[in-house]
């Protein structure tokens, strides 16, 4: 970084964090500035200061905020998007879940990718489970539920053919084990496509959300940015109810539930954060 961050940019950063819960640390401010730049060109606005007013004071601020959020999120996804999060799942979270379930007769894991877009995330999770099949997950079955609002994305996910951009993080080993070349693209093979079900689900659809029961882990990464605070709260409350007592909620990198929900507890994993269900003390307060 060269020089201190511009105060106007910091203000926009704070607006984005308060409204969408997505935080741009100082080293990501460049990125934010680029995204604002695109909007400024569109609006023919010259300075960041003026643009920051478009987001905060002008009557159209709500619409502008959504336009900026679209620039920030652009439905992007890829295989192995957040490696520390995946490492933590495999090395720390899965063992904890298995331990919590060790006395139950049904040896089954249920993982939900909520807002799975074109499928890279649930396939990644499936590959991780396959890697553990003969190790931790011996005698266990796993089931991955993948849902999204966007039908075209879901069709793409079922087809499972991907270009070089979204497969850029694949190691040669995963590439060889779980993909079949298709021209200059890659298709996920039958093994890695097994035990995943894709379906259309609007996370704001309260009646359908209540049916997503008994989850061990929920991944809802880079999705909540599209929701306003009230609907975000409802979605998170559903997740809370859908998770088993030992369950985990994972959000995207730099997304937080601060100010959204008090029931989930933040936990730190190496290079990643997650949320777990806190236990309530008998008095109804929260235990420390």
């Amino acid at each position: 970084m060269d020089g201190p961050p511009e105060p106007e940019l910091v203000r926009i950063r704070d607006v984005i964090y308060q409204t969408a819960g997505i935080f741009h640390p100082d080293n990501k401010l460049r990125l934010l500035q680029d995204r604002c730049g695109r909007r400024m060109k569109e609006l023919k606005v010259q300075t960041l200061r003026e643009y920051s007013e478009c987001l905060t004071i002008r009557p159209t601020r709500q619409a502008e905020l959504i336009a900026l959020l679209n620039e920030i999120t652009i439905g992007e996804t890829s295989f192995f998007r957040n490696q520390p999060q995946l490492d933590a799942l495999r090395r720390i979270v899965i063992p904890k879940i298995l331990e919590a379930k060790s006395n139950l007769p049904l040896r089954r894991l249920r993982i939900w990718s909520a807002g799975c877009s074109t499928g890279e995330e649930p396939y990644t999770l499936r590959m991780l489970m396959l890697e553990e099949l003969n190790v931790q997950l011996k005698d266990w079955s796993t089931e991955i539920l993948a849902t999204d609002l966007n039908e075209r994305s879901l069709a793409h996910a079922e087809e499972a053919v991907y270009g070089s951009y979204s497969t850029r993080n694949l190691t040669p080993s995963y590439r060889n084990k779980y993909f079949i070349p298709q021209g200059d693209k890659l298709q996920v093979n039958a093994l890695a496509r097994s035990n995943i079900s894709f379906s259309r689900l609007n996370l704001s659809d309260d009646s359908r959300m209540t049916f997503m029961k008994s989850m061990d882990a929920i991944f809802c990464c880079n999705v909540l940015i599209y929701f306003d605070l009230a609907s975000k709260r409802r979605v998170i409350q559903h997740f809370f109810n859908n998770l088993l007592p030992h369950g985990y909620l994972f959000l995207g990198h730099s997304e937080s539930l601060f100010g959204v929900n008090d029931d989930f507890r933040l936990v730190h994993l190496p290079g990643a954060t997650a949320y777990v269900k806190g236990e309530r003390t008998p008095a109804g307060g929260k235990s420390l």
Partner: protein, 299 residues
Amino acid sequence: MTAATATKQALLQRLDGLHQIPTIPAVLAPLLRYLQQPVEQLDVQKVTDLLSQDKSLAAQCLQMANSPLFGRAQNVQSLRGAVVSLGFHHVSDIAMSCGVLNMLPSDKASLDPVVFWEHSLGCALVSRQIARKINFGDPGKAYLAGLLHDLGIIVNLWVLPKEFRAAWEMGKGEGIPLHEAEQKSMGFTHCDSGRLLGERWALAPELIEVISYHHAPEKSAEHTGLVALVQLADLLCRMSGLNYGYVEERQVNLAEESGFGLLAQHSTALKDFDWARLTFELDSYMDEVHSLVRAIYRT
């Protein structure tokens, strides 16, 4: 005598008889003493003069003064300029940071000391940030406490490089906290050895408590709030990329740490503190800390 107490005895003896033991850098001793006075009695020029006596320290301080980690990065050219534009509190933070860096053994054959320095600087920055956000006393004091909390690691690197390396390898292999590995393999931790050096240097009592109890703040008697704050900052750094050069395979819930309850007694703002945001901010410190340390090492 058990093996553990034997090692501890051996450490004490070695520490006592050792001549190449890290001495507090000549310039820093008077500076530290000077800074223990009330703020109103401090003189900016005096701090600048003290620092200028050591050329390389002064150059390193300028490097740091120009880092965004210390606020204004407006290309400060002279020490005096740094004092004026950053405020001399920051300058003394910076001086202490360079001082600690210069105490690390330069022999990298055993363990690369840079990771420990990066961890200390990270912990200093995070401690300062927590103190600011929850209105806990003087952020400069929190910075210093974070910076020096692992002083014992420096002692271990100097006095028992082989034994310490074995402990570090064990920590890395098992993915357990470094102090637990030290306890298992050497019978004492960097908290014990840090305390010895801290006392020998006659550091301020609150710093000695931080050094001795930052892994068990419930044991501290007087400066519990500060010790607790550093415990939490240290944990955040260890769970991020500012760790001890390896990943601890575990899950941490800060609210369940002993320091959390203790710090809450000193600050009502703690219950509304946004830990997630601080964790994300750490990401940006990390890059800065890495490049800063690299720059200073060249100086």
